[in-house]
Symmetry: C2
Subunit: 231 residues, 2 copies
Amino acid sequence: MTLPASVQEPALTRSVEDYLKAIYRLSSQGGFATTSDIAGLLTLSAPSVSGMVKRLSEMGLIEHVPYRGVQLTSQGRRAALRMIRRHRVLELYLTRNLGYDWDNVHNEAERLEHAVSDDLIERMAATLGDPRYDPHGDPIPTATGDIEETELASLADAEVGAELELRQVGTQEPARLRYFAEQGLVPGVRVTVTDRQPFNGPTTVYLNASGTARIVGRELAQVLWCRELSP
Amino acid sequence: MTLPASVQEPALTRSVEDYLKAIYRLSSQGGFATTSDIAGLLTLSAPSVSGMVKRLSEMGLIEHVPYRGVQLTSQGRRAALRMIRRHRVLELYLTRNLGYDWDNVHNEAERLEHAVSDDLIERMAATLGDPRYDPHGDPIPTATGDIEETELASLADAEVGAELELRQVGTQEPARLRYFAEQGLVPGVRVTVTDRQPFNGPTTVYLNASGTARIVGRELAQVLWCRELSP
DNA sequence: CGCTCATATTAGGCTACACTAATGTCTCCA
DNA sequence: TGGAGACATTAGTGTAGCCTAATATGAGCG
């Protein structure tokens, strides 16, 4: 009566997909995602999260340690990475092929990621030449669920004199993204750190290509993730 | 406390959007859409439809005459046409820009139409050069909610000797669509009706461009909508 | 060591939307 | 004109997700 041995996964709801993405983000550094952190990220009440946590762990998507938090199971992680792939492929496609700017793709991708088929995502990815990074420099998981893990350091922590490649811009706020774009601070750019003011002051960098300087306040510098170039 | 005079419409749910599209289709010839027709089209139970009909008429989207059926209000019609525009623009975009065939775009568009923003639809439409017809020849409503109304006749009713332009293919079944494509029976093609067998028998047409004949059974001929060319 | 406060969970309720079973209404034909 | 049968509606349930209010837990500090 039912399908054969091959287990047919019953398709996750939009909510479930959002929870899994949030838990992935909050626990990607290895720890637990707490109820209140999830509630904060998704702007839901804590009891709502408690309720969903119960459902997700019954579905086998997360492991719940009461009063401590949750972590994804391998099944949950796979589902989360699938959503992240969708989101990032969509962001890149919208940017490259439909004239979106990197500061306004997020919301569109956020809605579409729940509606597109795997087939469409793979067609978009193929059209884009199987890209590895989204417009903000975040790595795109492969269709098989692998994601590049790179050690990046925040510009705010970089030493004066260091030569860096800007790799990821860790914000989705349109205003900040627009500002970064204006300043030429986008993934792939190479810079040299020439100064840092004390007491959490701003960082000054030279853009190697254009030879011009930029002064970046701490709050912004913290979300610019960089890779150290050979010294 | 609430928004100013400008009435902010509260965003329709996926279900509501589907009902409105169905009601549009069923009542576009002027009559009422009945509960069981809607239930049939959406594959829902009749009581489910009754319940939704109550909600839709409270929302002012439809007019309900008990035991007779429903019709769209102008507000409901606007919402329905907006969905149809989305669907058809999506179908064309997927066909033209992402390698879909006309027989497999329907389901993808069906899901995406609920998730895309108006902005994205307009970008797609602009990319496509503000198209007027989708891949099946159906007219695409304008962003302002106007739709071309053409008098078309079914090939099954065409007179022998008539010269016709095939304009719309009125099915979404992939197998039939593939067959039509193989036969060269696609929108825009010009044909001459050369024969019709009696007792609801098949229609024979010549493809004017290639000069080859096609025999089309009644069931298929009924969904091929044509415009009569000057006699 | 125990208490306080932040955090988590449970209890109870609401909405949207589906379902089946029971009931109402209309139409057409004998 | 009076049913019979087709169709519509109402009644009553269920599930997913959200909420607020009430309660439980645990961790750090006096």
